[in-house]
């Protein structure tokens, strides 16, 4: 390595460090303020307390919005994984030219600004007289994450050899038996990864949700509303808990991916 390259390397390492710090600064601050008080920009170092966390159980509104978010996330996962699997399977097995068109449509809500997806659905629901509720939010989230779910499952399907399913049929399996005993166990991990990712995205989705939410609120919408009056320490505490949950989910996804990659590809 030349000296110049060495300098470049350290310079880049420094920049990377700074950027990691910048990305985490808001998060670290949130966690910090869930334990410490500050008055007029001055931190009171003696005010450490985990009381906000215990008080959180009395914050009905926050808890309710959290439950709503989890409900939306879970239903989104179920819908998007089922629909995503069928589309991936269709795309993988079909020879029809329609499939390219189908892929294009699925990718639209993912590529276009979220504001477009949000207001399209809003207008559509108004036209068909469907009142806004958590379920309309689920629809919005499902079509938003569908492209990612579809792509993850499709990638996995494409690594499977066609002879795998053929040999199942050859040994006497019906299509459901072949699906249950052979296809499903082999794409299981990709379904889990897709589902976890869909849940993580749904949990924090704000821009589409703002258009589709009815009288209930999801957690990000609650935060958005609370922001005008400033955050209480309980809000910070709830944020900290969700941050931990999200990080764990992302780490889980990463570990599943790296583990399945380490397995000798068969």
């Amino acid at each position: 390595m030349t000296r110049l390259e060495n300098y470049t390397k350290y310079l880049l390492a420094g920049l990377t460090g700074l950027i990691v710090a910048a990305l985490y600064a808001p998060i670290v601050l949130t966690i910090f303020y869930s334990f410490y008080k500050s008055r007029k920009g001055k931190v009171d170092w003696n005010s450490f307390s985990y009381e906000p966390y215990t008080k959180l159980i009395y914050e009905r509104q926050i808890l309710e919005s959290l439950m709503n978010s989890i409900y939306v996330g879970v239903v989104t996962v179920i819908c998007s994984v089922i629909i995503g699997f069928y589309f991936a399977n269709y795309y993988h097995t079909s020879k029809s030219k329609m499939k390219e068109f189908l892929q294009f449509i699925i990718f639209l809500p993912f590529l276009l600004p979220p504001i477009i997806t949000g207001l399209s659905l809003l207008i559509f629901f108004r036209e068909i007289n469907l009142p806004r509720s958590l379920n309309t939010v689920v629809i919005g989230h499902t079509i938003f994450v569908l492209a990612i779910v579809f792509k993850i499952i499709l990638n996995k399907l494409e690594t499977l050899k066609p002879s795998l399913m053929e040999s199942a049929y050859d040994l006497g399996a019906s299509k459901w038996q072949a699906f249950y005993y052979v296809l499903l166990p082999n794409i299981k991990l990709s379904l889990i990864i897709a589902g976890l990712l869909a849940f993580t995205i749904s949990l924090d989705e704000t821009l589409i949700t703002l258009f589709l939410i009815g009288n209930d609120t999801t957690w990000p919408i609650k935060l958005w509303a609370k922001m005008r009056v400033g955050f209480s320490k309980q809000v910070n505490a709830s944020v900290t808990l969700i941050l931990i949950l999200t990080s764990l989910l992302v780490l889980l996804i990463a570990s599943i991916i790296s583990r399945s990659e380490k397995k000798i590809m068969y």
Partner: protein, 283 residues
């Protein structure tokens, strides 16, 4: 072989899901586009074809001005993300060794962390009595807090960069990481200087990844309406914000739809153009 695998593709469920997607994606898009040709009377929407909304857009110059300003804003955000993100991706792929995936993961996690919280906390970092001002004051660089950072365009740019930066690092890293070491070594062997190797080998190969990331950043920055509203003060009046306000207090859905259809038009052109360019680069 197709006769076997067709088992699933001809299933009734595929047809059902096909119908679902057409209903949930295509028809909403069409109904939104058709709304942009309607007008409003009080709280009623008049379902009659009219070019009124588009006329409004071109006549009142505030809309075009805001639109152009928002595009510039998105371009600045995108450029900042490229200038900061590319070196980081380059560092990860080339120098970070076995830590590269760990650092990458550290850069991905914030992407999934509360969007609203990041904006909120950027306020307390950038604000008059925020972290940056305090640190600068402590180090003696400034005597009184700067107002440079909050309630203006700068704060919108900084916040969007912090939120969107991982989106450019991930695809760029992926395409850089795919470059086999021996390609770079071969270029040195053929007499390339380090900068030439970068200019002629590394950068062209990583370019498609960079483009994908840039487009994501650009489109998200262009359509965002929450960030500008929350940190931008008076300059938070971006195009997205105007669209959103037409669906909220202003209650003029057709006009909002018309403004949004212009945004859609620009986004689609950009997506198609990039697609065309990257395909052309590949061949």
């Amino acid at each position: 072989m197709n006769s076997v695998l067709n088992y699933f593709s001809t299933s009734i469920w595929t047809i059902v899901s096909f119908i679902l997607v057409i209903f949930l994606i295509l028809i909403p898009l069409f109904s939104f586009l058709s709304y942009s040709f309607f007008t409003v009377d009080g709280t009623d929407i008049i379902h009659e074809f009219s070019l009124f909304n588009f006329k409004e857009f071109f006549i009142d110059e505030i809309y075009i001005r805001t639109f152009v300003r928002t595009i510039f804003l998105a371009i600045i955000v995108m450029s900042c993300c490229i200038m900061l993100g590319y070196p980081v991706a380059f560092f990860l792929a080339r120098y970070a060794g076995r830590y590269k995936y760990v650092i990458l993961l550290m850069l991905i996690i914030p992407l999934f962390m509360s969007y609203i919280i990041k904006i909120y906390m950027m306020r307390s970092i950038l604000g008059y009595s925020g972290l940056i001002n305090k640190v600068l004051a402590m180090m003696g660089f400034i005597e009184k807090p700067l107002e440079f950072f909050l309630w203006n365009q700068n704060s919108v740019i900084i916040t969007l960069v912090v939120i969107l930066l991982p989106l450019i690092i991930i695809p760029t890293f992926t395409s850089l990481d795919k470059i086999p070491k021996n390609i770079v070594e071969a270029s040195f062997d053929l007499g390339c200087k380090p900068f030439q190797a970068f200019r002629y080998i590394i950068f062209p190969i990583s370019f498609p990844g960079l483009i994908v990331g840039s487009i994501f950043v650009f489109i998200l920055a262009l359509g965002d309406f929450v960030t500008p509203q929350l940190v931008g003060g008076t300059s938070g009046f971006t195009y997205g914000k105007i669209i959103y306000s037409n669906f909220g207090m202003a209650f003029n859905w057709p006009f909002g739809a018309a403004l949004a259809s212009i945004l859609l038009f620009v986004s689609v052109i950009i997506i198609l153009l990039t697609n065309y360019l990257t395909n052309k680069l590949k061949t």
